[in-house]
Symmetry: C2
């Protein structure tokens, strides 16, 4: 039996996360017991929420314990099964973590899900038909609730979540404006994803310049905003909101390194009667089936397009993750762990 | 016929508002036409929202025009009527403004409302059974939505809005904690209004000290917050929120003079999955009848108590208003215009 390679959290970041916060180790592949399934991972999903887990104390959820395998969503193939619902060769989605193999208790509700790769590629279950896709769907349909003709703004527009939000927004009849970093990403957002406009925040030296570009792209103001970033970008978009605008706060990547992240003009909450709501996709599991059905159909039909950045090999996961936090990825960031 | 005394907005504040922004003038009392009612005002309501109207441009609503009578809610007596529904001697509530008399078009929906003073004093229709009371009821029942056993925090707790919020919160079975300025107000909030605790923000030199006091008063965290103030107080309360806390933003008095009002830790929106919503009571007129019915019954039964600061004479309205912005009033700030 081959060994199980694992990447553990070795230390908590002081400010910015670095590769030294991680360490690779090898352990024996566990033997499964009754009700368990052994999965060999094909792809690991890297996501911004992981940065929050690396901090001590109060964040999204419980902190990632030190010296344990980093948490993460995976898609893989069943190698051995002691549960009637799973057979060797099945493709499954689970929270396998940053490692080659994992053992899943298949009786635990929601712990493992069998998926079909006949119309949807396996990796898409970590992207548009997985957690990022459901995140986009949920924030859009439950909080942003845009009506046809309204203007929807999406930050991190070329990313795994933002790209879904914008495409769904277009299908709902909205004017959709993305914000992304770099001309190449912006071109992708408008040409491939079909957004009406995209603002390259890197092309603007200050918030005034950014505001000018946003104003030009949102002549009727902003009715709904899907927030992935925070900081200056959030302040700028809030300044363009119309009365009764809805803001879904999905991520605040600008604040993940622990620096204070002020919202500079809270008065707008009152002046524009805004609704600002933070959410975490895993807290509304009741909504996942409907979301996955919609997203799977759209991907299978080719109506929901997506892009992936695939890093080869588990050993390169830490560097790929740090790059994700800096926006170096283009679309969904994955790590290929095995063929 | 006596003259009509009026206070007009003479100039817009540069930073803090001053008495020089106002001017008194006398004009003839108008003659009523068909459908109109002439009202002699007994009480004028002074409210923080008026400060927003004094600024130019985007705020709650249209700016108060220069050289016109300051907007304001009034309760008064019908002096003359050319409308079948109103008779001389009726007590009526309307937006009469900062003046002795006003003419109301009684056919305009919502412009004038006849009220009974048999169980509720006339002035209460500008307080607990008027706009401030409905504001408290609306933010509490539509946004804060506290459940029995939850902890509700209210800033400006001794004020016209806050006092209603807290008493209704108690009747819903919540632990209610007020924030007010000064020991005397805090004593009133706990002893007369029946809040479980009240924090005197003036007794705390910095936000750390204020946080310590709030922590002691909210051992189970904060589930709902009714915000009247903003700034350091808002930041401090947000830092005590539990997951899924609801924040109704009714007023941000700390920002009314135009200084930037940052929310220093927007990351909490995501970490605690907060819902923060600004609202204006006049935008949900459909809810007023239910609110007024509840509030009127509670006041008539003596179950909803309130306090008034009555300034004598229209000429003293500007000074009373500036005092209100600094928290010099104690309970609902009124101006007695005539007997």
């Amino acid at each position: 039996m081959p060994m199980n390679q694992q990447i553990i959290l070795k230390s908590r970041p002081q400010g910015k996360a670095t590769v030294d916060n991680f360490e690779m180790r090898e352990v024996a592949v566990p033997v499964i017991k009754a009700g368990q399934v052994l999965v060999r991972h094909q792809f690991l999903s890297l996501d911004p929420y992981m940065r929050g887990r690396m901090n001590e104390g109060k964040s999204y959820a419980a902190a990632q314990p030190l010296d344990s395998v980093m948490i993460g969503g995976t898609v893989g193939v069943v190698e051995a099964s002691a549960h009637d619902n799973f057979q060797p060769g099945d493709t499954v989605v689970s929270m396998g973590g940053w490692q080659t193999y994992s053992v899943v208790d298949a009786n635990e509700p929601g712990a493992i899900r069998k998926v079909s790769t006949s119309h949807v590629p396996a990796s898409a279950y970590l992207g548009p038909v997985g957690m990022p896709g459901v995140t986009g769907w949920m924030g859009l349909t439950q909080i942003c609730k845009p009506k046809a003709g309204e203007t929807l703004v999406v930050s991190a527009a070329s990313g795994a979540v933002g790209s879904v939000v914008g495409q769904l927004g277009k299908s709902m009849g909205c004017r959709v404006v993305g914000i992304a970093g770099g001309a190449e990403k912006c071109l992708y957002v408008t040409q491939d994803l079909g957004f009406d406009a995209c603002i390259d925040y890197k092309a603007h030296a200050d918030s005034k310049s950014l505001y000018g570009a946003l104003k030009a792209a949102t002549p009727d103001g902003v009715d709904a905003y899907f927030e992935n970033v925070g900081g200056v970008i959030m302040d700028t978009v809030l300044a363009r909101t119309n009365p009764f605008a809805r803001i879904a706060v999905c991520g605040l990547i600008a604040g993940y390194d622990g620096a204070p992240l002020p919202m500079n003009n809270a008065t707008l909450i009152l002046v524009n009667r805004l609704t600002i709501q933070g959410f975490i996709v895993s807290e509304r599991m009741d909504l996942w089936p409907e979301a996955l059905k919609t997203l799977g159909e759209q991907v299978a039909k080719g109506k929901l397009v997506y892009r992936e950045t695939i890093t080869e090999g588990l050993a390169n996961a830490p560097e790929a993750f740090l790059g994700l936090l800096k926006g170096h990825n283009f679309g969904k960031q994955l790590v290929r762990i095995s063929a």
